[in-house]
Amino acid sequence: MIRFILVQNRQGKTRLEKWYSNYSEHERNKLKAEVHRTVASRDQKHQSNFVEFHNHRIVYRRYAGLFFCFCIDTNDNELSLLEAIHLFVEVLDAYHGNVCELDLVFNFYWVYSVLDEMFLAGEIQETSRSVILSRMEQLSALE
């Protein structure tokens, strides 16, 4: 299962965090710093998108200035998760229209809604882009 999801920018500021395991506040802060250190120093061209982290793995992808990091167990399929990250970003893009970091900052609760649609309790829930988008439209109609 997914342990946690972090979206951080290059300076290490967390734009999105979702914890699917029980970590104390102190542990969370430590983990966030560690993930940033591990991921930010990697070279995109020569290195893979998987890093070994404690006894889990981090699957990450860099989009412009943001790192999308998913920490998973070692027995999970990394390649499928890489696809899931891409899907997530695509959905955000389709929903906001050319999304950038600022959009994530100002509308963070929308981002969380999308995240909750796609991932529940550490598992990938919804993989169809059209379904997610229609759901988001329903939600915004209720607001």
Binding site: M1, K13, T14, R15, L16, E17, K18, Y20, N22, S24, E25, N29, D43, H46, Q47, S48, N49, F50, V51, E52, N75, N77, E78, L79, S80, L82, E83, V105, F106, F108, Y109, Y112, S113, D116, L120, A121, E123, I124, Q125, E126, T127, Q138, L139, L142, E143
Partner: protein
């Protein structure tokens, strides 16, 4: 009151970058005021803002109750804000969680689908064992909801609850099994995912579902679900081997036809982990050729680790390491490819490659692989810096001089560095070299050692080369491998008779490296020195000294300047070895006794006595005092051996004080202390195998019973000291209480004054 919305807050933050914390403190106090308002809309905006600040690291636990209030709102937007805040900030110990039980229950039963989903979401995130127990029934009811959207999410939520509250599993599993037959494919996919998660810990329960899962495997085309099913079978196959035969059909079909790399990878992984490749099974590949299933997997796996995409390479190597453990012959041909992966700039890939390689080496390939790994270590920046005499890095080796640092000669006499000269140009110049990472270096050294000592050295043909490699590793390792190396050095020398002479050469070389010895001495018991290795070298020199022509120079090596600063065990070893070498030399010298020999014996003996008194008894750690007192400052093991040596030397010098015709008997016999006959190594379990004789009686007295004279001198055995002390203190306490004017022994004694 004109309160700020969330956007205002964020904009304000960005505008006040310089005095951010001030601005936040101000906002926090505003929010504190706002959450206590009765207007729900204000509250929810405040909670939203708090949520944002929480993401920046500001605690919001003081507002937990307000968050619950917002969760209870009837307006969906506010409710959602509340739930989101709860998910972000509530922990297992948050006490207001108890208040949420009824609230969530109400939401779960709501007619509004959105409310149900948001409640399910929130519950899955924050569930504690209590909440799980209370709300499981409601969630299970939701599993049967009319809308598939809800069913899907309820399944996953229930999974989380059941993890927190395991007794609920009994009720949950039948429902879960029913969902596999659900009409909506997404619900089925969700059910499969949940089963996969639960089966990880307890696969036995879900074995009966195998037929249904098999049907899904063959009929579905949803990649995500297929991945989950395949993974699930990986857990099931080890406990039910007959599944392997059934599965290879659909699996091979998937392997040959699927375009999705993730699915392909999962199939191969299952085949390996589930043991399906262990059995000979037919398969058909994409062009219709028939072949063994395992072979098909191996071929497809090749696509992964030969790919240019680093991700694929990484996952391919992970599975390869497992694959070759079970069916090594299928992947042996790809040795070269994996070897090339050793030079990949990505450390994770390299580590995986090392893991795979360690199992794949054969007799022919061993030397080449080890050379390649060693050249990585040598050519890395850590070692290159000391060669180029550039500015020192943090490694200790930079202190040693250039000439001493790289005595890399293998058994055939060619220097390793020049032999690998061609590799220098191949090395990538990308930034910081992976080989500088201490974790990596440790892994490399461990791999080298394990490859060579695999199955007690089956792969080694040239032991001298191995010993030389071990010695080289002492210099270039750059990691804390002292214990491993010394253990291996000892092991191979004791086991393999033929290599002992060469080991002695190497040992001598290590000990004559004054820098090495100095470093070991100055770092004492810290890690990073090579004291253990030097100790082993000393031991070997002493133990096998008769293999070499008797040489008194070794004695100087064995009593180095920094002896007293070495760790205790090593000190003892050095002294003992010196003693052995001396005794051996003495015996050889004494066989041809003449005036010259006598001179020699005397001079060497006096030299040793001098060395001892200088280096051990007179060093700055042991100032002044008599010999005896100085000796008592040494660690116990060392001092006893030093004492022995001192006595032997005295004995020899006394008997050789005058020139004699024949050698004094002591010179010939001293060696008998150590070398009366050769002892073979004894297995550690040997003592346990000796049967205890029946007549052994450890309880009866052997001689006369010795009267217990101590009983008359000292008082009879008193109660154990603790009790005695207890009685003493209680007596003391009683006395002190009697004297204390303010102490009253009982309640009745309190004088009550009648007013």
């Amino acid at each position: 009151m004109f309160e700020k919305t969330l956007s205002d807050l964020i904009q304000g933050l960005r505008a006040n970058k310089r005095n951010e914390s001030e601005y936040i403190q101000r906002s926090l106090s505003e929010i504190q005021h706002e959450v206590q308002q009765s207007d729900m809309r204000q509250k929810s905006v405040a909670v939203d803002k708090l949520n944002y600040l929480h993401m920046l690291g500001y605690d919001m636990n003081w507002a937990s109750f307000n968050v619950v209030e917002v969760m209870a709102s009837s307006r969906f937007g506010e409710k959602r804000a509340g739930y989101l805040a709860a998910e972000q900030s509530f922990h297992q110990e948050t006490d207001v969680l108890m208040l949420t039980t009824n609230l969530i229950r109400k939401d779960l039963a709501s007619s509004n689908v959105m409310e149900i989903s948001v409640a399910l979401n929130g519950l899955a995130q924050v569930a504690t064992a209590d909440l799980a127990q209370d709300l499981l029934d409601d969630v299970l009811a939701a599993v049967g909801h009319s809308r598939p959207y809800i069913r899907k999410r309820a399944l996953v939520c229930a999974c989380r609850l059941v993890i927190k509250y395991p007794e609920g599993l009994r009720e949950f599993v039948p429902l879960l099994k029913d969902r596999l037959d659900d009409a909506d494919p997404t619900v089925v996919a969700s059910a499969v995912g949940v089963i996969c998660e639960l089966a990880h810990t307890n696969p036995q329960n879900y074995l009966p579902l195998a037929p249904k899962l098999y049907r899904l495997l063959t009929t579905s085309s949803n990649t995500w679900m297929l991945i989950k099913i395949v993974k699930l079978f990986a857990w099931l196959t080890p406990i039910e081997p007959r599944l392997a035969k059934k599965l290879h059909g659909p699996l091979s079909h998937l392997v040959s036809t699927t375009a999705a790399m993730s699915l392909l990878y999962e199939c191969i992984n299952t085949a390996v982990v589930g043991g399906i490749i262990d059995v000979q099974l037919p398969a058909v590949d994409s062009v219709g050729r028939e072949m063994d299933f395992a072979e098909l997997c191996a071929r497809k796996l090749q696509l992964f680790y030969e790919s240019r995409d680093h991700n694929l390479r990484y996952v391919g190597l992970v599975t390869l390491a497992q694959f070759q453990r079970r069916r090594p012959e299928l992947v042996a041909a790809h040795y070269g490819t994996v070897l090339r992966c050793l030079d990949d700039p990505d450390m994770s890939i390299r580590m995986r490659a090392i893991e795979a390689i360690s199992g794949m080496t054969t007799r022919k390939t061993l030397v080449g692989t080890v050379k390649r790994l060693m050249s990585q270590l040598i050519l890395s920046n850590t070692v290159a810096l000391q060669q180029a005499n550039a500015k020192s890095d943090t490694m200790d080796y930079s202190e040693s001089s250039d000439t001493q640092a790289m005595p890399l000669v293998d058994a055939s006499g060619t220097s390793m560095v020049t032999a690998q000269g061609s590799i220098v140009s191949q090395r990538s110049s990308a930034g910081p070299d992976v080989a500088d990472n201490p974790e990596y270096r440790l892994a490399v050294v461990e791999a080298i050692i394990s490859m060579c000592s695999h199955q007690t050295y089956t792969n080694l043909t040239d032991f001298e080369w191995y010993v030389a490699t071990l010695t080289d590793l002492v210099y270039i390792a750059g990691a804390d491998v002292d214990e491993r190396l010394s253990e291996r050095f000892l092991d191979v020398t004791v086991r393999v008779r033929q290599v002992r002479a060469f080991s002695l050469q190497m040992a001598r070389r290590l000990l004559s490296d004054t820098h090495l010895v100095e470093r070991a001495a100055s770092f004492g018991g810290q890690k990073g020195n090579n004291a253990l290795m030097l100790g082993t070298a000393a031991y070997l020199l002493g133990e096998y000294c008769e293999l070499q022509p008797a040489n008194s120079d070794d004695i100087h090596l064995l009593l180095p300047a920094g002896l007293t600063r070495l760790p205790e065990d090593q000190q003892g070893m050095f002294v003992l070895a010196a003693h052995k070498v001396y005794a051996n030399w003495l015996r050889h010298a004494s066989e041809y006794w003449n005036a010259d020999t006598w001179e020699q014996v005397r001079s060497v003996t006096t030299q040793m006595q001098q060395l001892l008194s200088e280096r051990i008894l007179g060093s700055d750690i042991l100032p002044g005092g008599t010999v005896a007192s100085r000796m008592s400052l040494l660690p116990l093991q060392t001092s006893s051996r030093v004492r022995l040596l001192v006595e032997s030397l005295k004995l020899v010098s006394v008997t050789t004080s005058n020139m004699t015709d024949t050698a004094p008997p002591v010179c010939l016999e001293l060696n008998a202390l150590f070398k009366a006959y050769e002892l073979n190594p004894v297995s550690a379990a040997a003592q346990g195998k000796v049967p205890i004789p029946d007549t052994l009686d450890l309880d009866t007295f052997i001689g006369d019973v010795i009267p217990d004279t101590t009983a008359k001198v000292m008082p009879p055995p008193s109660p154990p000291p603790k009790q005695r002390a207890a009685t003493a203190t209680s007596r003391q306490r009683k006395e002190s209480k009697a004297k204390d004017p303010y102490y009253l022994p009982s309640v009745d004694d309190i004088p009550v004054v009648e007013l």
